[in-house]
Amino acid sequence: MKSMRAVLVATLAIVGGLSACGGERLPPKALSDARDEFHRAKTGIAIQFDPTDVHEADLALQRANQAWGDDPDDPNTIDLAIVAQRKAQIAEAEAQTMKSQRDAEEAKRQLQELMSTQLLSARGQLNQTKQQLEAEQRAAAEQRQRLEDLERKLKDARDTIAKIAAVKDDERGMVITLQGEVLFSTGKWDLKAGAMAKLDQIAEVLVGKEQPMVVYGHTDNVGTHDMNMDLSQKRANAVRDYLVSRGIPQDLISAQGKGPDVPVSDNGSIEGRASNRRVEIVVQPKKS
């Protein structure tokens, strides 16, 4: 390669020298190459991106053309032609650089845009998930609060009732037991004044709970079974009717006389018989 251009230059110089006395001559190859290269620069991306260097190449080409016109045998003419060609090539290479830089910037810009879009979308999804989670947590907390409130109310109700009557839980629900002596006179089924005061308090607690309840009347085993059944039913009815009069919905409360059939104590003693004479209000769990 080193010698290639030297040979080319020498050949042209020799040819130029030999034909110095001839008539119209063709321009040396270096000059026509320079013209071709300039034409490419002038019509390609070079003029679009790097007009300054194309102008430089234009000036160099004019000098080469001028030199060839002035003295075709001057070897510097060839150099000037090569200079012009190189300047056109420089313009093209510089333009290529600028175009590549612009392409790279455009690709980077698009990448940036794409990534921020993806980021935004991911952030949006994250927010949505977070909001859903918060809503679920809020709902769970509210549900927990409602349950706590309900439990507390039930406990309060139970505590209130426990002050005036015996309260226990069995498989039927909460059982409030009122002793017969407190509610009724012997053989009667109309409520005593004191009984009403107690039932008022019980009704007050149970109103609005919407829990179904059954009032059971119980007797001891003194007297006939039929008579006891009848008495216990009437007493249960009396309690039920009174509770209804205090606001317990009629369709939630029923009354049942059990007579002497469900004793809680031995009927052989006075105390045992007293225990067996009773009214039970069974508050069942709320139907849901």
Partner: protein, 115 residues
């Protein structure tokens, strides 16, 4: 052999053509050397096209040096040639590097689009 023939041919033509005495192009020569240095550090040796023109620049620079004070006009012409060869070498190296960066950026973009 060929080189020597070429040199003889050039020298004979030059000797006939120019007799005018000019000062040696020392400043331009230094500038051309700086251009060669820039092309070398600008990556020209690792880009085939650029390497070729870098070699031509060095060759012209050497020839110019040899002619200094013998034929200053010719020496100046070769220095001018050396400068554009070196400048072209740098431009080509830059273009190759810029093109590589653009391809890389395009690849990055396509990869991101694929995700």
């Amino acid at each position: 052999m060929v080189m020597r023939m070429a040199k003889v041919a050039i020298a004979s033509v030059v000797l006939i053509a120019c007799g005018a005495s000019l000062p040696p192009p020392s400043d331009d020569w230094a500038a051309a050397q700086a251009d060669v240095g820039r092309a070398q550090s600008g990556g020209a040796p690792s880009v085939p096209d650029a390497k070729l023109h870098l070699q031509l620049a060095q060759e012209d620079l050497q020839k110019s040096k040899d002619l200094m004070d013998k034929d200053n006009k010719r020496a100046a012409s070769l220095v001018a040639l050396a400068r554009v060869e070196a400048q072209l070498a740098l431009s080509l190296a830059k273009a190759a590097s810029a093109q590589e960066s653009a391809q890389q950026a395009q690849q990055d973009l396509q990869k991101a689009k694929g995700n």
